[in-house]
Symmetry: C2
Subunit: 358 residues, 2 copies
């Protein structure tokens, strides 16, 4: 048995792999591959419509919020957002909570003024804050709900909901993982390759009211309004990637939706962190209150033992345990499709390793 | 037997479907799906490296030319190209040879001056020209080598090679289909979903010398130099789409490369157009010298018979025969992966239909 703890691209449900594999040979008994069907056929339109309907239902979105499947990954959103929302003489507030948040800040600076309202660099991005002041003049506040590399996650958005400015949130690594009031956000974006589907497509949920207020000319492919008008088909969309999203969303719905997956995610995270806290050999990288339920990061204060544990993981079919190249240590990603059995298996290995080396 | 004449996404080799389907369940005997492997693993790096090596070998590219696999489709290139190559006070020359060329012109106008050196609109884009004058002051000349919707294709690039300005070419619908001196171009781009692979990735081949000469700040994801520095891994690439490209490129190489596929493409086009010219019922939409070997466009001067022929195609397993929604009539796309048998089958249907209705 292999368990894939990769941070993204990452594990997807077995049913999704099976159905996607079949559709490449014969999509819906058409005799055609999903890879060769035209994007403007009723065949693909049904796929896209179903994907959007699942998102709206799962996230309980109101009619003001449009769901788009776009090219480019979350990194494209880093500049597409200020390009669409921020005039040169205006200011946007950003929270600098990790490597990806820093990249978003850098791109925004090309389009307008950026005020960093929380700087996590002094804690090496291992801590968040409950006392962030957001100037009312900010055109929007940009958040990263879960910091994949560092292993932190916002668990309470009250301070942001009360900020009085439009909220923009990169939810790439925890979207669809927990119950939230998604309608409180004016723009949500997420690369698909963690909880939505496979790499190669990006989901954007946008409140139509915030668009059309900047002066600059926006290239067609970067203009959310054009994508809305064209129903995510302004050009040839990433057909297969959207199909995999649809299958994954369908799986989540059949499982019981976000409340059901949240319960499972809580179980996995509880098991992982209670194990971590019970074993002095392993050091959690993040204070308890800011720990991510998607990505658990920890270390061993001994490079030889770190290497030995990685080897043991590898020999036992545990893939993707090594921490990000920028931060080292270990990272166990426990996205929606990771079964509880995977976390049970790795925590057993941890206990066993601690016993022998503690 | 189904034959898929879709204009893109379009048919791919049967072997590619089979291998892609298998890799979704078990990629290279790893026990992991190609959809869940990390993009920074040696497993995926080998896929990307092989894809790039095939492109360089098949197209005989020199060391100045870099091969990139990018997000966004050709439509993103419509603005990314002028963003990287054209200052606001500079001029680029464009040939307006079809619907997609017109879109490219529109996007370029946001970044600098555009001079349309050939306007195909008076002929409804059904004709090209041998006498195009390109001002030496043009920063570059933009061409569309094959016009997918209209069914025209440039067969002689001498006038452009002699223009003395850098050449930029949208080869989305005929790349890898015929022997050309690709090193004469400074930037070539192509959406993958015709001759390279499946929808969801875009190939860009760029001469490094033309980069870094504009004043504006370019967002990271739009900067070719950053993609070159990061080996097409500036962010999470569309892993599966690149894998399908690699498989398709490998298939082409094993087939004998571009000279071998050109011979097959010539045979298919000869059969299609000689059939068309022998049947007065069908009217070719394009003069002989400008006809595309990838997309044959034609009509019947009778809406009822057009509908009847479409019905017969459908009943005989011929998919994607209907012309583009903007131009009507019929369009038979004969990309690299379309076997000769497919063109034989549809031309037999045409002959039969003409006999009964001529």
């Amino acid at each position: 048995m292999i368990y894939n703890f990769n941070s993204g691209p990452s594990v997807l449900p077995k049913e999704v792999f099976e159905q996607a594999s079949k559709a490449i040979l014969d999509f819906n008994n058409t005799g055609l591959s999903i890879l060769e069907i035209g994007h403007r056929t009723p065949l693909f339109q049904a796929v896209l419509d179903e994907a959007i309907a699942h998102v709206k239902e799962l996230m309980k979105l109101d009619d003001q919020h449009e769901v788009l499947f776009l090219h480019g990954g979350a990194s494209t959103q880093f500049f597409q957002i200020p390009m669409n929302l921020l005039n040169e003489n205006e200011m946007a507030a950003y929270t600098d909570t990790g490597v990806f948040a820093t990249k978003a800040i850098k791109e925004a600076g090309t389009f307008g003024h950026v005020e960093v309202v929380y700087n996590g660099k002094p804690s090496s991005f291992r801590e968040l804050s409950k006392n962030i002041q957001v100037p009312k003049t900010a055109k929007y506040l940009h958040l990263t709900s879960n910091n994949t590399i560092e292993g932190t996650q916002w668990h309470d958005f009250t301070q942001f909901y009360n900020s009085g400015v439009p909220l923009v949130c990169d939810m790439s690594s925890d979207i669809l993982s927990r119950v939230m009031d998604f309608n409180k956000f004016d723009l949500i974006y997420a690369g698909a390759q963690k909880n939505i589907g496979a790499a190669g497509v990006n989901m954007v949920i946008v409140n139509k009211d915030i668009l059309g207020k900047v002066d600059r000319k926006i290239p067609g492919m970067m203009d959310y309004r054009q994508h809305i008008e064209n129903g995510s088909m302004l050009n040839t969309p990433p057909v297969f990637a959207i199909y995999v999203c649809m299958l994954t969303l369908r799986w989540l719905k059949e499982l019981g939706g976000i409340p059901a997956i949240e319960k499972l995610n809580d179980e996995k995270a509880d098991l992982m962190y209670s194990t971590l806290d019970s074993l002095p050999l392993f050091k959690g990288s993040v204070p308890k209150e800011d720990r991510s339920k998607m990505n658990a990061t920890f270390t061993i204060d001994n490079p030889e033992l770190e290497k030995a544990f990685l080897d043991i993981c590898k020999n036992n079919g545990m893939v993707g345990v090594k921490g990000h190249r920028l931060s080292g240590g270990f990272r166990i990603s426990m996205y929606n499709a990771m079964p509880l059995a995977g976390v049970q298996a790795i925590t057993e290995l941890m206990k066993d390793f601690a016993k022998k080396n503690g």
